[in-house]
Symmetry: C2
Subunit: 432 residues, 2 copies
């Protein structure tokens, strides 16, 4: 279809950067990101998401990445990898996708390709993005219905990202990737391009909407499964039954699914379900189950705090406690604290007027302070806290000795350690 492929990637974050690196091994690839800072760091071979080492990034030729979109001007195969978060009201926020699409419009030529990788609800590619391109350019999106009309047009597709931050086992090379395209032949072509880097194979979906649907249900399924375990945890907690003991027994069944209770944040699991429920609502379907799961997971920090306060109030006659919170990122072994439910939890503590230190070795104190008004410390204080909350099971946290944790408590008898992820499996510690 295209003789000399020149790929242009819009967005060099969790999704775009690995794609840029893999495609660069096989094709002529340009990378664009709005953030001058991100580009400057990449040119210095620093990956701010901490997924790649300097050595990994050495292969990037600095002339192939830029924060000026003109870097894309000779490209003919555009891939959009910008984030699709939700608004404060939990509705899809497509602004980055819209901006990226408009940027591409400046460079899009006849018979070029535009592929989206961001999480969408079914219909965003065709009903939102392609409409924008058709409006902004003179070109028509070519699909199975109009493909024989000899139009001046462009092809498009959707190939959802399956990046799992902090998980080096499931890189692009290692996983099967879903692809789709606007016509039979363009779908096949897009699939053939991805096949060059997805060594585990691709799955060419029957349509763009099917590919979009597959993506949006994947993380929704994880969300509901964690929510269910959180519901179990709440029930058993009321009966003084340790959920982790129960899960250990249940997991011995051959088909029991291994999920743990906890806080659910991040850019995928806590967000993607809202894309589905938004679209469902638009077409008159109330996603009772999906939304019940979301609500349950979103309220877990309150359950944790209630349990902790109850336990502390039994031991102390204080109105204000001194807390230490360990773990600020949205998941373990990443440095990204955006969309972190630990921070939501921390803010609840602060709101109640308690004294709070927060600690996370994986997080840049400077970056954290720019975004959050809380007392992030380099080192926990000794003999100081009434309670310690451990919310994220980072590798470095797992290595803590329980004696070290006790040494941070002011009152070793009455003080409490709340081990949300049951990392230490100590009967004396509180857990979910």
């Amino acid at each position: 279809m295209i003789n000399k492929l020149r790929i242009g990637i819009v967005g060099l974050g969790y999704v775009g950067l690995p794609l840029f690196l893999e495609f660069s091994k096989k094709f002529n690839v340009k990378g664009f990101d709005l953030s001058k800072k991100k580009i400057d760091l990449l040119k210095k071979k620093i990956d701010y998401t901490n997924q790649y080492s300097k050595k990994d990034l050495k292969k990037i030729s600095n002339k192939n990445i830029d924060f000026n979109s003109d870097i894309l001007k000779d490209c003919n195969f555009f891939i959009v990898t910008v984030p699709t978060p939700v608004t404060k009201n939990k509705r899809p926020n497509l602004s980055a996708v819209v901006s990226a699409t408009k940027i591409i419009c400046k460079y899009l030529k006849k018979n070029n390709y535009v592929i989206y990788e961001s999480t969408f609800y079914p219909g965003v590619t065709e009903d939102v993005c392609i409409k924008i391109i058709e409006k902004e350019t003179e070109l028509i999106g070519i699909n199975n219905k109009n493909k024989n009309k000899n139009l001046d047009g462009f092809y498009y597709g959707y190939s959802p990202e399956r990046i799992n931050p902090g998980d080096s086992k499931h890189g692009i090379k290692d996983i099967v990737k879903v692809t789709s395209g606007s016509t039979h032949s363009s779908a096949k072509f897009i699939d053939s391009i991805y096949k060059k880097i997805c060594l585990a194979g691709t799955h060419q979906a029957e349509s763009i909407k099917i590919a979009e649907s597959a993506k949006v249900i994947e993380n929704t399924q994880r969300d509901i499964n964690i929510a269910l375990i959180n519901e179990f945890a709440q029930i058993f907690s009321k009966m003084n039954i340790n959920i982790y003991d129960v899960l250990r027994a249940a997991k011995t069944k051959w088909n029991f699914l291994d999920f743990s209770p906890g806080l659910v944040g991040g850019h995928c699991i806590g967000v993607d379900p809202y894309y589905l429920t938004y679209k469902a609502n638009k077409i008159g379907y109330d996603s009772v189950l999906t939304l019940a799961g979301r609500k349950l997971n979103d309220d877990m920090h309150n359950f944790i705090l209630k349990k902790l306060y109850k336990s502390l109030n039994k031991n102390f006659k204080k109105k204000k406690y001194k807390f230490l919170l360990i773990g600020l990122t949205f998941k373990e072994n990443v440095n990204d604290f955006r969309n972190s439910r630990s921070i939501v939890l921390a803010n609840e503590i602060i709101k109640k007027g308690h004294n709070l230190d927060v600690y996370d070795k994986n997080v840049s104190i400077k970056e954290f302070k720019k975004k959050n008004k809380m007392n992030i410390i380099k080192k926990p204080k000794k003999n100081h806290y009434d309670a310690i909350l451990i919310t994220v099971a980072h590798r470095d946290v797992r290595k803590f000795k329980k004696e070290y944790l006790y040494s941070l408590l002011d009152d070793k008898e009455k003080g409490k350690i709340f081990d949300v992820k049951n990392v230490f499996n100590q009967k004396k510690f509180l857990t979910i």
Copy 2:
């Protein structure tokens, strides 16, 4: 603890019969079942649940099974394997467990053991069953608190069944079984007895309540996962997106869980969640998520019928249709039609005044007619039906040719085939 073990099994159904057969290989075992008919069949080496062949049952010595409970009189290790269904109001129905417990009371002696295998909510063993025994006998349940008081007592435990009807791969020998006991040493003893037959191993839970909790969440997890896929199916159906195409794409992700949409009946998945939610409700917790899943699954027959009627009404101007329903059991490859949602669906069709034939080669027509007022047929009629609904993916159903199915339709053009489990993967067929 007991020198000469004599096991007495109360209930010889899905759970009790396999247990009887396995334990008989190693111990002196007696089997009791209230049903004279079931015992008579077993004596003729016929398993009414269709799990065992005549050859398998040959090993049963007829003198070891009876419908008279006196068969249990010399036993010292009692195992209760009776069903725990729900009432019409979806509350736990413990009547069979209570009856079984009272029967055991007649034969229970000092230092004997009573083990329950039925699905319970946490607390049924200790708060219901053991209380009954203590009331009906002079014996005291010995637990970790009173074990040093030198009481005239009995030991007890809970070891949940993990029988999967129709699944020969996961027999007692092949799976890990959870065990628990009332004292540390009795737990160990009970575990050692089960280890003799559970060749894949056992998991000795920390307490009886933990073992009960583990059991009750296992099927609840399956229920919610199917419910979620059913919610997806309903959303995508409204958008004319085929859920099975979506699932095929999603399943290419390494951690996507392979569940299918459909009707959820039977004695476990559709029942066990109510045991958990009942207990949760008693202690003041509203199991929003679990109940939302239950409701969704319980309503699926209405979704299917609505979709079918809508499609038929487009093609025909009829008020009454001629339907054929294929599949009457609660799951594939079993002959058990109790708690089948296909029958709930069939009754809805009849209620609307349509003409309905039902067909299932796996079901005994005589038995079916005793319990259900509907026209069960030996062979579907040719050139007769307006629509065919295939609800259960039995092995014999999977072998049907689509030409055969069309031959049953009156109008081959306008007639509809609704393939609930997408067995035939035909774009022309309707599906969930």
